[in-house]
């Protein structure tokens, strides 16, 4: 009686195993047929960050803000078209090498006096000051963020970038000897813009934008609002203005030229 039951169980187990193996063999045969029918797809790994372009090296700039702007505007977007690239770098170097300031409107000016060992007095006036480098670079980065949301043509964006950097260029003390005497503030900006942008094809349009800013035209309200916003959140430094000033003068031939461009890849900029 029990032997019959055991034999039945054994036969069920043996039949189950044989059936399972047969299913696996069938599946493997189907897969091999499918692989032969499929087309072979080529997969190439090509690192785009190792391609080399003509850039200016990081050593042309002294501060990290200028290098960050160069990466953000030219390297990431690959705006290497020639008259814009070199003129943009020229203006960045002028502002980067300057240690000039703009007097803030929220200060009180105090006059200080000290008695020297000779018996004479040394006079100076102290007040708070914005640094022109920080202001103009943060102003430009905010205009770049504005144009990410409000699209327009590439040439208009490039011209507004140049005009925004040239707004406060009359306050750079290293360049004032390029100007002739007797100019008002508005005339000196246009005169300097003409000197700096000699080789630029759209020079007249940049000067037109500067004229509109000086007249507070309504079509350029977004630039003036962004300028007021940057000044509100700027840091103020203390400064003393003495009688004898030693001004550092800057010449055009100290700035780097187009021939100093090198073949560089995007990896070196860590993009």
């Amino acid at each position: 009686m029990y032997i019959y039951i055991m034999l039945i169980f054994i036969t069920i187990i043996i039949v189950y195993f044989f059936n399972s193996r047969r299913v696996e063999e069938v599946i493997i045969e189907d897969e091999i047929q499918e692989v032969k029918e499929q087309k072979k797809e080529l997969v190439l790994y090509f690192n785009t960050n190792s391609v080399k372009f003509h850039f200016y090296h990081q050593s042309t700039f002294q501060s990290f803000l200028a290098v960050a702007l160069y990466k953000k505007i030219i390297v990431n977007q690959l705006w290497i078209d020639e008259p814009f690239h070199s003129n943009f770098v020229k203006i960045l170097q002028i502002i980067d090498q300057s240690e000039s300031w703009i007097k803030s409107k929220k200060t009180k000016e105090l006059k200080i006096k000290i008695r020297r060992n000779d018996g004479n007095f040394e006079h100076g006036s102290s007040f708070k000051v914005y640094s022109l480098r920080d202001l103009s670079f943060q102003f430009l980065s905010k205009i770049f963020d504005y144009f990410l949301k409000n699209r327009s043509t590439k040439i208009d964006i490039q011209n507004t970038f140049l005009a925004s950097l040239l707004l406060n260029i009359r306050n750079v003390t290293e360049i004032k000897h390029w100007c002739e005497k007797g100019f008002t503030n508005d005339e000196s900006t246009l005169f300097l813009a003409n000197i700096i942008l000699e080789n630029y094809t759209y020079k007249n349009e940049v000067i037109h934008i500067l004229n509109l800013i000086q007249q507070n035209h309504s079509s350029i309200n977004f630039i003036l609002d962004i300028y007021d916003e940057t000044i509100r959140w700027q840091r103020e430094y203390p400064y003393v203005e003495k009688e004898n000033k030693n001004i550092k003068e800057l010449e055009i031939f100290y700035l780097k030229q187009e021939e100093s461009k090198i073949l560089i890849s995007l990896d070196t900029f860590s993009c």
Binding site: K105, K106, T107, L110, I112, K113, S126, K128
Partner: protein, 183 residues
């Protein structure tokens, strides 16, 4: 598990003790730290007395180390000796000479009445007239403000300042800021 938790608490206690020790050391090195405060001697002509206090790191006591007189937005004196000279010229009202450095006696007419007063000149080429009563009040206010502070520490350990160090102190203590900010 219990052994690991006990070791963790012990390390935290050690780290907190070391942090407090480092904070004290850093504060103690800056021994020439100076704080500014002012006393108004005359509201009409806006005469102020700026005092620089030095703090002892060990005893936490304030000692006066600088005295400066300000008239408006300008420094009239920058030393202790010059400021005491100005105070004495106020005390000698009429008995002074033309040899004074800061204040000169003069006569003038107010409503058909001859009056003696002192003249004080500012760099803007403007003049201030100080009356007899104002001069006496300034001297008494001076003496009241010097009570409680030691003269020996003031006269022997006066700090030497430059133009740049004055601007840094004025900016830290809020003297270069407009009172009514307009955004």
């Amino acid at each position: 598990m219990v052994a690991f938790m006990w070791h963790g608490k012990k390390l935290k206690i050690i780290i907190n003790q070391r942090k407090n020790e480092m904070d004290e050391l850093i504060v103690g090195r800056n021994e020439n730290r100076i704080e500014l405060s002012h006393v108004v001697l005359n509201h009409k002509h806006n005469i102020k007395l700026l005092r620089g206090f030095g703090v002892d790191a060990k005893s936490d006591k304030r000692y006066m180390r600088n005295i400066v007189i300000m008239i408006g937005d300008e420094f009239a004196t920058s030393n202790i000796a010059d400021s005491i000279l100005l105070k004495e010229e106020l005390a000698l009202f009429d008995r002074g000479d033309s040899q004074n450095k800061y204040l000169f006696p003069s006569d003038r007419m107010i409503e058909k009445e001859r009056v003696n007063s002192l003249i004080l000149k500012i760099s803007d080429n403007s003049q201030i007239f100080v009356t007899r009563s104002e001069a006496k009040a300034i001297v008494t206010l001076w003496n009241m403000s010097m009570q409680g502070y030691s003269f020996s520490r003031l006269l022997e350990f006066e700090t030497k300042q430059t133009l740049e160090s004055w601007t840094i102190l004025l900016e830290e203590n809020g003297y270069l800021q407009l009172e009514n900010e307009e955004d």
